[in-house]
Amino acid sequence: MPIVKLNNEYLTRLTRVDIQTIRDNLPMMGSEVEREEEEQTDVQYFPNRPDLYSAEGTARALRGYLGVETGLPKYSVKPSGITFTVDENLKDIRPYLGSAVIRNVHMDNAMIESIMGLQESLHWAVGRGRKKVAIGIHDLDKIEGPFYYKAAEKSLEFVPLDYDVPMSMEQILDEHPKGKAYAKIVRDFPLYPLISDAKGNVCSFPPIINGELTRVTEDTHNILLDVTGIEPRAVMVAVNILCTAFVEMGADVETVEVDGVVMPSLAPTERVVSVDACRKLTGIFELTAPMMAELLEKMRFGCEVIDEDAVRVFVPCYRSDIMHDCDIYEDVAIAYGYDKIPATLPPSFTVGKPHPVQKLYSTVRNVMVGLQFIENTPFTLTSETVSYAMMNREENKKALHVLHPISEDQTIIRTDILPMLMESLSINRSRELPQKIFACGDVVEDMETYPKMAAASIHAGADFSEVYAVVDSFCQMISIPYEVKEGDDPAFIPGRCGAVFCCGKQIGVFGEISPVVLTAFGLEQPTCAFELDLRGFVDAE
């Protein structure tokens, strides 16, 4: 989730409230204050509210929440006369363009940082790392309309941001830091997206880098915004959030004609919502239509009470998270205050009951603790090395491999539990003997998750007879009718290994662990152990 750095002085100027009140109220609006510093406050926002990712957006919401200025923010737009043409060849590359012109911009350093931070957060949250949406902000006075969004030859050259020599687009992908970072989004296309002005000056190579020509500085007073992407709704979300943030700064927004479509409108959308549905969802039983309207105005919605049960809600253009009426009802609850909602226990009468697998695990635990064993709860992620190589066993072909393991120790999901116990004995080498340990839990083979248990005992006298007696006692207590045949599991010493059968099927193995295995785990004392598949002993649900 994005962490947004808010300049305290700028934020309080915009909000018209002191910084402490702001910090106290931010969590209750749905954010987390990560760090408080003399000059800035770092806030973590949820991914559904990209409109808050700037001092401007935060201040707009805070003014409403704190009652400084409530209701729908009004935006007026007039035409700029600027047009954009989109090349049809971009259809399979990066087809959508959103644009706007911002006039009368007077940015100090804090404002530039706020807008740059917003751009970066939007690239992450809405743009999915620039793949879905990418934003370019240009000094309009350095270029001249009409503008062209086209698919260009890779060899086309321009001076990218932070450079003073022209580079080809292909070269940018190879050499420019931003090019290297985002190359994979466009690399495989035959042509690359490019935005240029009437004279052929390059504004940007979306989604990679802007041209140095249109760099935004404190002397920039008019801005051309380009937002390109592969999903039209997300493109307009970014345009609306950026334009409305500029308005908070005191600038004016003008429309651009993209292939005949005039944008942005910055107009709210309308929804008629039900007071009763909101009461039923939130549990705010005292809610009335006027009260609901008032609460929503605190959240910067526009409202008209239609009747006792209906309120017409105007949703600001930057609120991309409002997908359903319930999203509006949540804002009612937030404005009302979660802590004020009457908290009562659900009245539903039901009878509690454990799941058969968990019930079996509880039984196994009780029996094994009674047999003097200490429970372990090891990881289920393990490696072929621990599970098979160190156990002197063949790899289990049914083991599931994770595609991008994070370390060599966690490459598969366990198919057995005994290797984890051997690891545990290894960790506890310096601890007093005897050590008798067990674990029960889920293992996975192919796609099946099923229950197993294993136990191990290490001390100078640990032997076949000891573990045979434990297996016998365990099976008797769990009601497993078992038979034992000679086993040949290579993890155990030949001639000191038993295979446990139930109803003609092998369900387990026990015996004295082979010194080959002991040595692999760094163990120096005789160890006896067993493992059982418990699939057949789960009660019906």
Partner: protein, 476 residues
Amino acid sequence: MDLTVNEKRVLATLAGKTSCTDAELAELLESPAESAVQWSHLCADRGLVVVEKQVEKTAKLTEEGEKYAAEGLPERQVLNTIEGTIPMKELTAHPLSRIAIGWLRKKNWIVMDKGMVSVNHEVADVIGDDEKALKELSADAAGTADLVKRGLAVIEEAVSWNIKITPEGKALADAGLDLREEVGTLTRDQILSGEWKNLPLRRYSVDKLPKRIYGGRFHPNQQILDEIRDLLFEMGFTEFHGSIVQNAFWNFDALYQPQDHPAREMQDTFHLREELPLPEGWEQVRDIHMNGGNTGSTGWGGDWNPEISKKCVLRTHSTSLSIQHLAKNPNPPLKAFSISRVYRRETIDPTHLPEFEQLEGIVMDEGLTFGHLLGFFKEFFGRMGFEEVRFRPGYFPYTEPSVEPEVWVDGLGWVELGGAGIFRKEVTEPWGIKCPVLAWGLGVSRVSMLRMGLKDLRQLYKSDIDWIRNSPARRV
């Protein structure tokens, strides 16, 4: 006074004597001297005898010392070769000169002038204390310490004990002592015959701590999980359990997580090569993602690819099990929970693990509200021992309203313990669920850490056996 038979034997032996040494006592008791001393000390603790330590020092010449005792100290031997005034060079030619010259100068036995050496008879003719001690060695002779320093003699200490009975001990001995052997273990015959009544049974000291028995143990973390399970059973919840491997459909799509959601990417989720088929009714989920379907929602827009949805992952949250449990049981009322391992692609460190336990719960019934969810949390956390609970707005793609409950922990402040909310229509609609569903997830490993004061989550899964051995049992 309860004395062991050995203590009694010491008293009986000493009763007729004024005092005796440990060696004498040992001989009389026919026991090793160490035992005689140990028993005497036990008697001394009770004020029945007095034990005095005696240290005898004896001096002994070393091999080098023996040699000089016969031939004289090196400086004396060299001195004896000086006749009149000789050049220094001549003196250094003597085989013992390396040891001797230093001592000659230190003892002021010679006079040196411009490379010439002569004997300082006034001093050198007096036989020194060290020389006397070398001839007649004793530990307290004046020159012995110098010899020890020069490594020519050593002092040896011999410890012996002088043991004397006190008037109290004497009185006890005179009153008569039962010197029969004590009995350690009772036999069946002794119990049945009644002979036990007259046996001198050995008494045990309560001051000697027993060897600790560890026995079998439930894992401390499992104890907390079982406490939570019992609490939920008491509140009427049914437990569910499910597969570790889920396809993206149940793990993400059915929970209205968009297909390009960052949490679904490789760096956060363990993906598998395997695929699982989509369940019946998947088209409705697709429509909801793309345009809201029949839920009144706008949906996320964009494309929705069933192939992505089939791909398997290690479940990243047990909400994937909740939604399947609901799909199977769409009729109210339903209260259910699961505590399951969940998997996140995190590098292991003290507070992050790639797998951990998550508690997941759902309550479905007619007329349930967000207020009921908050009420449930107050009750649940209260029973877990967290008195103060507050509710912060939260965000999850599958719930609305959403909340992050926090509990107050002294020393830490407000600690977030999970997330919750009411399932969105986009989530419940495809499965014919018509009632509100309250849903919550809780990181129980965090609860365990808080409750047990652990600093490192790994202790829960790779445990020090002594930590388990010494953890208290759960009150049931």
